[in-house]
């Protein structure tokens, strides 16, 4: 995935799952990751937590970016359910959401999220949060 070379990282291609009920937001997240210099060999998309679990039953990914407020199954419930999916064991999850409250951050991290990005965001913020996680620093 990411090979540390001093303070820099050699970027290798990753498989990503983007979970958001807005297709526009999924595309923005995709573009932000690419702008952050993260090369993605495969990008899976899901409109809610239940769909995302379905994707993970059949596919292994290296990174999950997930909204919180979604219909059918929200992001927090999705993280809890993730423990039952063998393919997803140890996969880092970063929440990307408008819910920026302290309580939501604490709840998401307690459920197993490794990072938290508040909307609206820039590609640089995505980079700051995601690269250390992929590099195994968080």
């Amino acid at each position: 995935m990411f090979l540390p070379i001093g303070d820099e990282y050699s970027l290798m291609s990753i498989r990503t799952l983007i979970v958001d009920d807005s297709s526009v937001m999924r595309k923005i997240v995709d573009r932000s990751l690419r702008q952050a210099g993260i090369e993605m060999s495969q990008v899976f998309e899901a409109g809610n937590g239940a769909e995302a679990l379905g994707v993970l039953q059949a596919n292994r990914v290296d990174l999950i970016l997930c909204d919180i407020n979604m219909p059918v199954m929200d992001g927090l419930e999705f993280i809890k359910q993730l423990a039952t999916v063998e393919n997803a064991t140890g996969t880092p999850i970063v929440m990307i959401t408008t819910e920026g409250s302290e309580a939501h951050v604490v709840q998401a991290l307690a459920c197993g999220a490794r990072g938290y990005i508040r909307k609206p965001f820039t590609a640089d913020q995505v980079k700051e949060h995601v690269i250390p996680i992929l590099a195994g620093k968080l």
Partner: protein, 162 residues
């Protein structure tokens, strides 16, 4: 058509929220669309609004935040958010405006002490059409901010139920 009040009445209970509402909206456009919103020099009207995104707020603040504009402005928002040519934009227009509204509402509540944790947002809804009014069941105070997005009017309104 109702002129947008650029200077709120002094008696309004939450008039100090108007700059925060404006800032929250400006930040969404700067960060997610890469463009600056501009203050209009003349009063704006609702004449050109034919698409409105709405997000409900519940909890410590109960109300509705809406952003209205015309379909060309909404299509341009989608184009900028998706990074595609304007003529390639399709049904994503409503989704894009809904997300802009959702982010503006989230950003606004996160700027006010006690609302970040105490206020929840509904999923966004979008209304389109040429001749509609949005009515609240009870007469409620509202804050309104008029801005220009690439020279096209944008009406940001927060109806406050409680």
């Amino acid at each position: 058509m109702t002129p947008v009040d650029q200077s709120p009445t002094p008696s309004h209970p939450h008039q100090d929220w108007i700059p925060l509402l404006e800032l929250a909206t400006r930040e969404v456009f700067e960060l997610m669309l890469g463009c600056q919103l501009v203050k209009p020099t003349t009063p704006m009207t609702e004449a050109s609004v034919n698409i409105t995104g709405m997000v409900g707020l519940a909890g410590a603040l109960s109300g509705v935040l809406s952003i209205g504009c015309d379909d060309k402005a909404a299509a341009l928002m989608a184009s900028k958010m998706l990074g595609i040519e304007l003529d390639k934009v399709g049904p994503e227009v409503a989704d894009a405006l809904g997300e802009v509204c959702n982010m503006a509402a989230g950003n606004f509540k996160n700027k006010i002490a006690g609302l970040s944790d105490g206020c929840m947002l509904s999923p966004p809804s979008v209304i389109t059409g040429n001749d509609y009014n949005i009515h609240s069941v009870t007469e409620t105070p509202y804050l309104e901010v008029g801005l220009l997005f690439e020279n096209m009017p944008l009406l940001v309104c927060l109806q406050i139920h409680s």
